[in-house]
Symmetry: C2
Subunit: 400 residues, 2 copies
């Protein structure tokens, strides 16, 4: 059933196009993706990476949902950008998500730019890329596309769906949409609804992109240009929200960058400026501006309770899934309170739910960084869930 | 000594140019402004507004320092932009700063765009506006320019210097630079140093402006264009930091703007988006992009302790000034902790210092909004200081 093909991202989308391919599966007209806005998307390509081996009864699959600007290369270098694995502390042999034991699937999200169909994909109804002709998508749509991939692997029930940030939103959506197909669920540094403040910051980023004349109303691919300056500003604005004030103070404070005194000019006098400029510049080399618009919009739209009469607990009523939610004390993008609200809803729904709040200065990005307590608690939850699932230690395909 | 002249802001700086003039005083080559970067600025024009009457012994003058995007029209409509007074609850007859009693001076800050010399002023060494030929300025430079204005009024000692946000930084700078000329000082929602997070947000704004091709390396005046899109994005990014998360949630939450359901598009579906877009758009009609660059940079550079061996208390040692500092609980731009740090330094210096922290959901902008406790505490401090200064109730010129 699984037709893995090597594909190249859209030819006009950036410097990564010439440097490699990615594994992907394509669904054609016989299997369109039903979108939340009522439309159907076809063809659909889902680019993915896997690690470890699926066991004989297909019970050891873990789906990892990546965050806004992540990709499918959760535990191996991205062959296109050359960037290292983005979650090496969590996924790999002997790691909390042990690839000697579990079959790990990670796919590029719908609307993304690392091989999965998105606004930079060819528009079957026109010449060149979709651009703004791409349909508006939602987190639920992202999850439906992932579900098609998981089905293609012949996996009926995922042992675990896990993700941080908007990956955590996807994990919650999975548990709400397909409760019987999710044995355990780990939303990390997430929220069940995107707040007004977060909509505001995303809107700043979108306006920065759209203000760039090279955006060309989204048709920059056809014009052979890219709205790099606008996209860099969008990334800078978002990036500030991923770090805590304390982390910025501890890491940079008001330290000067490669100089002993103020320049009395607009150079990057301060380390924090230099760091942010670098974040913006390096981002435009690996990300597509229209993807940024579509994915942020999808996240703005995320409010899981809306489909359940406005009561979040209803999304999880009678859920057989085991949940473990993680919050980070200094995260102000999706603060602990948002994560606690998830757990309160789960408990109100009678679900099996744990909550771990990690005391850290590292802000929202803490889940990507070295946090031994987080790793230990995650390992504990995964191991306990694996035991409940009958996945004894060493039950992976390698040991089978 | 005071030569008040009516001047018009730079002819190419925007729509306000044709609609009015402002009161201003000009200092020529015999009185250059000494800048922190070692250069001298001449000519210097300081645009100002006054309210009330200076009393016979010139002891009732209050200098109000405005915030980043404020102006001198603290208690009367701005005749150029048509915007109402920006602090009507605080300044006026019978208000905490009672213009029946005090002589209120408010000047447009150095680098500004409402009549005081700034990057949109004519460059005496060239054709047209300064643009990036304008020298880099500091908060200390802003205060030196204000001191020249105050001297021109024949006022030796100000009864009070007061300001919110970067107006509070100016007030602190006044007290540190001219302790004997400041009888009382009220820094509000301020900080003695601009944090890494705040530098980061300002840098996002500057990069947004500089990314706009109509910025033209700062020479947009000569080209007859304006970097309006970049400036709007800068304003939007900053504006989010002036509001608390709670305020955004209470005011907008995820409410839709003039629609019943999501548009599945990039229109402003959410009220918070519509509000932010409006903030950005209306800002470009009243503010100059280069002024935004220079003023934000001056604030980035503000770290009062640096000139005093890195010890903030040294800035206020033996200060005869009475201080009252205000912090607002939900302000995350200059959080209460920053305001408490000011007061701790004042107390360590043996200064006469009070601190009032207002419990509010309104965020940084709370000092501009209705906050009865703030108004009551400010009134109490002003009245007590006036009594100590020998300014009995009704001692203003009107009653003399």
């Amino acid at each position: 059933m699984l037709r893995a093909v090597m594909i190249h991202p859209s030819p006009n989308s950036g410097r990564w196009t010439a440097t490699g391919g990615v594994r992907a599966i394509s669904f054609h007209h016989d299997a369109p993706l039903q979108l939340s806005n009522g439309k159907r998307l076809s063809p659909l390509t889902v680019a993915y990476e896997t690690y470890g081996q699926l066991n004989a009864d297909r019970s050891n699959a873990i789906l990892i949902c990546h965050a806004l600007t992540g990709d499918q290369f959760v535990a191996s270098p991205n062959p296109i950008t050359g960037r290292p694995a983005w979650w090496p502390r969590i996924v790999g042999p002997g790691r909390p998500i042990d690839t000697n034991r579990f079959f790990v699937i990670c796919s590029n999200i719908l609307g993304g730019c690392m091989g999965t169909t998105g606004p930079s994909s060819p528009n079957p109804q026109g010449d060149g890329a979709y651009g703004l002709q791409f349909p508006m998508i939602t987190v639920a749509d992202m999850v439906r596309a992932q579900a098609m991939l998981v089905e293609a692997f012949g996996v009926e029930t995922l042992f675990c769906v896990i993700g941080g940030s908007i990956g955590g939103m996807q994990a919650l959506q999975w548990a709400a949409a397909y409760p019987k197909r999710v044995f355990s669920c780990v939303p990390i540094a997430a929220a069940a609804r995107h707040s007004a403040q977060n909509i505001a910051f995303y809107e700043v980023g979108r306006q920065a992109i759209m203000a760039d004349p090279d955006w060309r109303g989204g048709a920059y691919d056809a014009a052979g240009v890219r709205p790099s300056k606008g996209l860099a500003v969008a990334r800078m604005a978002a990036h500030v929200t991923y770090l805590s004030e304390v982390a910025l103070r501890q890491k940079f404070d008001r330290n000067l960058q490669a100089r002993e005194r103020l320049s009395f000019g607009f150079d990057a006098d301060f380390q924090v400026e230099s760091y942010l400029r670098h974040q913006g510049q390096s981002f435009v080399d690996r990300f597509d501006a229209n993807s940024y618009l579509y994915i942020t919009r999808a996240v703005d739209y995320f409010d899981l309770a809306v489909d359940f009469g406005g009561v979040l607990a209803q999304a999880f009523l009678h859920s057989p899934t085991r949940f473990c939610s993680f919050g980070f004390s200094s995260d102000w993008h999706y603060p602990p309170e948002e994560n606690r609200a998830i757990v309160r809803a789960l408990i109100a729904a009678g679900a099996d739910a744990s909550y771990v709040e990690i005391d850290t200065n590292k802000g929202h990005d803490a889940f990507l960084l070295e946090e031994p307590q987080f790793e230990a608690a995650l390992t504990g939850f995964i191991d306990a869930a694996a035991a409940a699932r009958g996945l004894a230690l060493g039950s992976g395909a390698n040991a089978a």
